[in-house]
């Protein structure tokens, strides 16, 4: 895995090159201008939390990083790799499906509605991509998968089908499934929004563990407590723009912009 031995090292590093660079990104859905010039950087090991009202474009931004949506303008770089295109003499060329798949392998994604494969057990869900995409042997992938399920506290549920698991358990399997590809970046798209309140804690606990292990994470969430406790940076988005960004504790305690104040007063 991308685990580093000393957690929180990244928090003090300010001079490292960013892992994710988002530069002037725009996105249109037909006439609808969803992202209106987003700039953002995420350093290796950083936990970047994005909050904002629904429809602010935060999920769309996340999906653009993973090529589930194609951006209309701007550039996204992950590990100096231009996402979705090849730039030749200032002209962008679409990537082939094979190249797109290769880029996605480096980026793990966790969805709001888990999206586990219902016809496969928890273990089979986790080993699917390592065996099918990376062509790992089944036994090696299984060993690794059991380790990951242990990490998310579900090794005793390895042979359960998703429908036999609670929402919180399903989401933790989904996290293990994404980690099995050993990504250098994890994207979380409102990972706890579809969960019953008492199940949210388990999922956040796993995410905290992951953050402490040094994983680079971009988390779209409504969990202000998580942002304050685990986030290295907090970005508040509204109507397709970044309104405010900085240290989570500062922003939550003392929001500068009135839209941030308004939003926080409603969710806190």
């Amino acid at each position: 895995m991308t685990e580093t031995t000393s957690p929180n090292t990244s928090r003090t590093l300010t001079d490292v090159k960013p892992l994710v660079e988002i530069q002037g990104v725009h996105k249109f859905f037909g006439e609808h201008h969803v992202l209106q010039g987003i700039d953002m950087t995420v350093k290796p090991g950083e936990v970047s939390v994005i909050i904002g009202p629904s429809g602010s474009g935060k999920s769309t931004l996340l999906r653009c990083i993973n090529l589930l949506e194609t951006i209309s303008a701007g550039r996204i770089y992950v590990h100096n790799d231009l996402i979705g295109f090849r730039e030749v003499d200032g002209k962008l060329h679409d990537l082939t499906t094979k190249q797109i798949a290769a880029q996605r392998r480096e980026i793990g994604m966790v969805f709001q509605r888990f999206n586990l494969f219902p016809h496969k057990t928890a273990l089979q869900n986790v080993i699917e991509a390592p065996t099918q995409v990376k062509h790992q042997s089944k036994s090696a992938a299984k060993l690794k998968a059991l380790e990951l399920l242990e990490m998310v506290g579900l090794s005793d549920r390895a042979n359960f089908y998703p429908s036999q698991l609670s929402g919180g358990q399903q989401q933790r399997v989904a996290i293990a499934r994404a980690l099995a590809m050993e990504p250098e970046l994890m994207l979380f798209d409102e990972p706890t929004s579809a969960l019953d309140p008492e199940l949210v804690g388990d999922v956040l606990e796993v995410m905290k563990k992951l953050a402490a292990s040094g994983m680079t994470m971009i988390v779209v969430t409504h969990e202000i407590g998580f942002a304050r406790e685990v986030g290295d940076t907090l970005t508040f988005m509204d109507a397709g723009v970044v309104v405010e960004s900085g240290n989570p504790r500062d922003i939550i305690a003392n929001p500068q912009h009135h839209r941030t104040q308004e939003f926080l007063s409603r969710v806190l």
């Binding site: 589930l68 699917e128 995409v133």
Partner: protein, 323 residues
Amino acid sequence: MSRAFERRSTPRSGSGLELIDAVPVRHPWRWVGAALILLIVALAAQSMVTNPKFYWKTFQTYLFDVLVIQGVGWTLILTVTSMIIAIVLAILLAFMRQSDNPLFRYVSWVWVWFFRGTPVYTQLLFWGSIGALYPKIIVGVPFGPELLSWDTATVINATVAAIVGLGLNESAYLAEIFRAGLKSVDNGQMEAAEALGMRRGKVMWRIILPQAMRVIIPPTGNETIGMLKTTSLVLAVPFTLDLTFVTNALASRTFLPIPLLMVAAFWYLVITSVLMVGQFYIERHFGKGVDNVTMAPVKATAVVAAAHTKPPAQADGTTEGGK
């Protein structure tokens, strides 16, 4: 999950718990209805047994006649092989229809349009007379020399013509069933698999299709049983060994159409019943994880392995979300 099941199977006696033993609602009219139906069935049976025009003796004579049994065999061969061809083509056509490649989409659309749009009888006539249209099959350089050639009549004999004709026609109908099945799978499945770096073709084959099969199988079973009966149209080729043709031939030879119709009906019913049993097991296989969670094998090996490393997690959220 299994709690309700446990309560019914092993009521804990002596725990001081008084289990509910409610008096069920009575349904007297159901008994009346059942009696009425039995009466009608009995009357019908009696009329069939006593009516001499059914010629049950002849029925018995021909039920296991060699020609009839061979007819059953040929009908089965035609049904199974043409359905296999149709299913393989239908998967291909449905994938092509969902493809990013416009060429694939158009080819698939035109195929379905053509084979669904012309009568199967006409198509069978065409395959039967292809030898007259193209007497030789030639492999060679286009507009250049020929390398190999065969007589069409020997390559596409009546059996091949019948199977190809039935299979290609059916593939068009099945393609639409498969397409409907693929569309029924939640979009999030495609996104999750693609986010893991899987290519579209692999996602379709390993993630989307297995889930779609739950929806695809019942109408495909329907089509298979339909095909069983459609095989009787192969006389258009002409193919003359299937069950309907054979029993019709025997009927005109004996001048007793009714008992031979009954023979054919009996065997069609037997084959249909066997096919339905097969469908039950296929449905159960593809329903795993969704329809038949309690039947799913939960192997204990991993649980045991986990138990060695750490005590089982406290029984947290397992109660909700289960079936």
